[in-house]
């Protein structure tokens, strides 16, 4: 539609400066304040980076020397391994806890509530030490058909996995429960009406929709889990932090070696952030189009349906 026809169709008079007032030709004012703030922020950041870089006390050559040290690599793999195993166990157990917490069965929901109450209510550090010292409470563990020396079962590794996973499960249970509750009740009802079993409805219909609100806090949990693994150094698990500690106990280069650990922790969490973004995009795929289905798109579908009816 040209300007002229628009004016005549609407039956309105046209003034000489209408064309000048067309917002399409407007100039943007120069964003002086924004440019100034960016410049200032860059200057401060550069200055800080310079101070850190030239300060000999950070011992950057030492950082470089130990960054790929075999002991550090060993510690890093323990940290990553523990994180992955504890997180997977935590999510699986958390899902089961969330489902039984929401169950109509009073026994299941109470037991699940009790578990969550206990493992969220006590410090992780205490739980780790507790698992590690389980043998002082129960010297032998018996399952009726077989029994073991507790000390044979509870190594630093199993104590670390038990402590981290059970604690994580309690938090994941609440995150997953929140996600499941966020899904429209009509979805569960529809699955039911179509003759799906409860398990199938959860797996195919409810959980995929709940993921949208489960993934962001789970990413958060994963990142805090990576750092929480540093607590296992108290039960003599040789994780990333423990490995740099074991080096600086020998060389007394405390700060440079802590920097090694800090840089590794930052590197891992950065990679995880990227991965989390990708997962979030995947689970919001049904929303796409809805967001950019601004008026034109809606009008287009309306027009189509009108055509079909005609």
């Amino acid at each position: 539609m040209t300007d002229a026809t628009a004016a005549y169709v609407a039956g309105v008079a046209r003034l000489p400066d209408d064309a000048l007032r067309d917002v399409k030709r407007a100039h943007q004012p120069f964003p002086l304040v924004r440019v100034a703030l960016w410049t200032l922020a860059f200057a401060v950041a550069a200055g800080f980076a310079y101070i850190v870089a030239v300060n000999p006390n950070f011992g950057w050559p030492v950082v470089a020397q130990y960054f790929f040290d075999p002991t550090v690599m060993q510690g890093l793999s323990v940290t990553l391994g523990l994180t992955v195993v504890a997180m997977i166990l935590g999510i699986v157990l958390g899902l089961l806890l969330a489902i039984s917490r929401m169950s109509k069965d009073r026994l299941a929901s109470s037991l699940s509530g009790l578990f969550i109450w206990f493992f969220r209510g006590t410090p992780l550090l205490v739980q780790l030490i507790f698992w590690y010292n389980l043998s002082t409470l129960f010297p032998r563990i018996s399952l009726g058909f077989a029994s073991w020396e507790t000390n044979d079962l509870i190594t630093p590794l199993t104590a670390a996995i038990l402590g981290l996973a059970l604690n994580e499960a309690a938090y994941m249970a609440e995150i997953i429960r929140g996600g499941l509750l966020s899904v429209d009740k009509g979805q569960a009802e529809t699955a039911e009406a179509f003759g799906m079993t409860r398990a199938r409805a959860l797996w195919r219909i409810i959980i995929p929709q709940a993921m949208k609100s489960i993934v962001p806090p789970t990413g958060n949990q994963l990142i805090s889990m990576i750092k929480a693994t540093s607590l296992v150094s108290v039960i003599a698990m040789a994780d990333l932090l423990y490995s740099v500690q074991s080096i600086y106990n020998r060389t007394f280069e405390i700060i440079p070696l802590l920097m090694v650990a800090v840089l590794w922790y930052l590197l891992i969490t950065s990679i995880l952030n990227v991965g989390q973004g990708a997962i979030e995009r995947y689970y919001s795929r049904g929303d796409r189009g809805a967001q950019n289905s601004a008026p034109e798109k809606l009008a287009a579908t309306r027009a189509e349906t009108a055509d079909e009816r005609a």
Binding site: D184, G186, Q187, E189, T190, E192, A193, F194, G195, M196, T197, R198, R200, R204, I205, P208, Q209, Y283, R285, G286, D287, R288, G289, A290, S293, K297, L298, T301, R302, T305, A306, E308, R309
Partner: protein, 257 residues
Amino acid sequence: MSAHDTALVRARNVHKAFGPLEVLKGIDLDVVAGEVVVILGPSGSGKSTFLRCINHLEAIDQGSIEVDGEQVGYRLHNSRLDRLSNREITVQRRKIGMVFQQFNLYPHMTTLQNVIEAPVGVHGQNRKEAIRYGRELLTRVGLADKIDAYPRQLSGGQQQRVAIARALAIRPKLMLFDEPTSALDPELIGEVLATMRDLARQGLTMIVVTHEIGFAREAADRVVFMDDGNVIEAGPPGAVLANPQHPRTRAFLSRFI
């Protein structure tokens, strides 16, 4: 087998209460195979609740409902009545299709995935065959070009037509429509009703809860009028709609003329 077996749905003295609120106060209704029954009535008269009792989304408190010769939710054996397990009830529902007021499409699946979910996942149909039939159904409801669209990219009327195709995909013996046009913009109601009229013509057994008097007049074999938890009038649309006997029916219908 006796004479009553010609009825696909038999409801006898159905009572249902939510706490102190009595919603159904003894509903009796037969629906024969191939029949289209439209249930009319004011809001709160219990018509949606009754519909949801038929596929046991709500358990009834008294009376009985049979669908296709099986009692919904129970088994009568040597005059002993046993409640079915949840899994058995799940299996019972599989011959009944349902269309909801809010469409309730699965938002994380495309149109075609929505349609084939139950045939493949619940009825164990061959995936290829389910896709072929799903495409056929979506074509029949006029959405052949929207097979890969997600529900949120569709208008309300299109979503409801997908929901109808999804319910048909399980080749149901009985279709339940729970106010299928109540959530739609006025200009989108026509396309959904047209689809439903087609189904009625093809001999599908349908129970439709709606406020669309026009649809009842054109497509129903029988109109059932409910008020305050009771069926107060039932009969062919020509009789009930043109010449209502009960004062409540008259009052209700006068609002639509």
